[in-house]
Amino acid sequence: MNDSKIPVWVNVFVLPMVNILLAFAFSAIIFIAVDVDPIEAAQVMIRGAFGYQEGIGYTLYYATNFMFTGLAVAVAFSAGLFNIGGEGQAYMGGLGVGIACLALDSSLPFWAILPITMFASMAFGALWALIPAYLQAYRGSHIVITTIMFNFIAASLMVYLMVNVFKLDGQMAPVSRIIEDSAKLPMFHEMAAWIDWSFESSPLNLSFFIALVCCLLVWILLWRTRWGYAIRAMGSSPTAAEYGGINYKKLTIIVMLISGALSGLLGINEVQGYSHQLKLDFVAGYGFTGIAVCLIGRNHPVGIILASLLFGVLYQGGAELSFDFPNIDREMIQVIQALVVLFSGALAFMLVKPTEHFFVFLDKRKTLSLKQTNPET
């Protein structure tokens, strides 16, 4: 399919854009069906996502989560493993961050806490991925199924811990205490203030930059190192990888550990960066959305950054939208997301054939006109 005549720029930029636009077109139909003017809605969304500093902050804050989970899916996918367990791994990662913060916030300064919490988030996320990875590598159990199961298990474990361990006495909600300032990640508006830039306050925080660094590291890992070579080899052709001396079992475990660790980092953004306490349900589907992000981003870190932004806009703009339109609720936003996944993911090839025909047609016309201009060829 990719050996076709379609130019690279069309394949990489135009087709994905058209797919997303198709998703929006169908969303528009549903908007009209529930009596909302789609154009007005789009304006509200764009304005909500980019129109003012706080909106931008929220958009990027959501994008941070999507980068982590999207990268997690991408790394595993490069090795041919479909990790649907981002949800549970992120949950566990957050737990790790929470425990580290609650244990250390009163005794250590920030610069000492940050590496520990980062390690904790990655370690907890990775450990949660380890069991499905082990079962896949050594027992041949479908990783798709085991990771789905582990999402459910993580959710229940979290509830148990929140209710029985972390909840404060006398506190209603099953939330932990708020961590001390020493453990909180610097917010973006605080960081902006250091350089005398006054930015409206928003949940955007240091982890956004950590996520960007992760994108870079993942790119280097996958495309510039021998380990990435091994990962991609295994994803493209397991038999050839085995022939090439790549140990499937070991690499499955390692890749899933990396994938789990990336998901786990979401905990940094949510627990240490934004809510400053452990609570239930902070993953809120970001893990699943990571699958969509990875797909739309074509498994590549740069694509993932762009796709994360898109979903950031959908989330933030969508929030804005449901704020302004009584007929629109969060479920409507989920419908848009579903359509984006459908068109950009499942129907990604739909337009390839027609586009190919179009370019073959262009090609023929070009050669024809060439022939007309100099008949000897």
Binding site: E54, Y58, Y61, Y62, A155, S156, V159, Y160, V163, K167, D169, G170, Q171, M172, A173, P174, V175, I178, S201, P203, Y274, S275, H276, Q277, K279, L280, D281, F282, A284, G285, Y315, G318, A319, S322, F323, D329, R330, I333
Partner: protein, 311 residues
């Protein structure tokens, strides 16, 4: 025309048939009907949006702003600090700030009443409780209910089940029905559901099984006349209405406002739908219990005071 009240509902939305809906119907809607003043509302689609939603309302000049549900606790704390001139109300949680009114209910007292009624009604001396998500608040309901039942008769057996431990537990009527049927099969003949949307399944199971059920938060007696023994109503709507009224006339007061039976924060519901199920003797008995609680003669233990149901 300058009075712009707003309500931020919990993520279950304003049509949850119980808690949020009570605020919506008996509070916001009623206020709008009476005063023709529109009430703005907001439902968050995820946790991060709570804070954002409150901030947007505050920035938009809405005042007062009622946040429904304990989940708003930490978000409201931050926003209330940022907008000291806006008046906030939080239901089911405490935020100790000069511009926040914390509205709490003594659910255990209301649950005690319906527990007592359940014990009076039960022929097998076995009563059931089906909770939604297993959180302390729901255990508080359960604990009050148990105390009420045992108050009537020490020998009464109380069966308790929680639907689950995730948010889905609020909207799993099928499981609610199964839990209820399981309790029925063990002899239970009156069941109290504090389970949000899951309750629908509990009531349906009671109807299908020819047993009795007790509603929660809103008055749900009308759902299945002849089946719904009563409802433990939490008058959040009324409280909201009151607050809007007071605020409109400039009498907003911050601080903690705990409403029990005495303050008409909670109650049991008796209306034309369940009249036939409650004998005059029962009614008298319950009313006397209610009076004793109001006077403090009976002290109902609050699960959340010590996180246990020892009384």
């Amino acid at each position: 025309a300058d009075f712009k009240p707003a309500v931020a509902y919990d993520s279950a939305g304003k049509f949850d048939k119980s808690f949020n809906q009570a605020v919506f119907q008996n509070g916001a809607t009623k206020f709008t009907e009476d005063t023709k003043i529109a009430v703005r509302d907001f439902v968050p689609s995820n946790d991060a949006q709570r804070e954002q939603g409150l901030a947007r309302l505050a920035r938009g000049g809405y005042n007062p702003i009622v946040a429904v549900g304990f989940m708003y606790g930490s978000a409201l704390e931050k926003i209330a600090k940022k907008y000291p001139d806006t008046q906030f109300v939080i239901i089911d949680s405490v935020v100790d700030l000069p511009n926040v009114k914390s509205l709490l209910f003594k659910e255990h007292e209301g649950s005690f009443l319906v527990g007592a009624l359940a014990a009076l009604k039960s022929e097998n001396q076995k009563v059931g409780f089906v909770g939604g998500m297993d959180v302390p608040l729901i255990r508080k309901f359960a604990c009050g209910y148990e105390q009420g039942a045992k108050y009537i008769n020490k020998e009464v057996e109380v069966f308790q089940n929680m639907t689950g431990s995730t948010n889905a537990a609020w909207s799993d009527p099928a499981r609610g029905a199964e839990l209820t049927k399981s309790q029925f099969s063990q002899g239970v003949d009156v069941v109290f559901a504090a389970a949000g949307g899951t309750g629908v399944g509990v009531y349906q199971a009671a109807k299908d099984g020819g047993k009795y059920a007790i509603g929660v938060d809103s008055n749900q007696n009308h759902l299945h006349p002849g089946v719904m023994l009563t409802s433990m109503v939490k008058l959040v709507g009324l409280a909201t209405y009151d607050i809007f009224k007071k605020a409109e006339s400039g009498n907003f007061s911050a601080g903690i406002d705990v409403r029990g039976l005495k303050e008409k924060g909670v109650d049991w519901a008796l209306d034309e739908y369940n009249r036939a199920l409650v004998t005059p003797e029962m009614e008298a008995e319950i009313n006397s219990v209610k009076a004793k609680i109001v006077t403090g003669e009976i002290v109902v233990h609050d699960y959340m005071a010590d996180n246990s149901c020892q009384y």
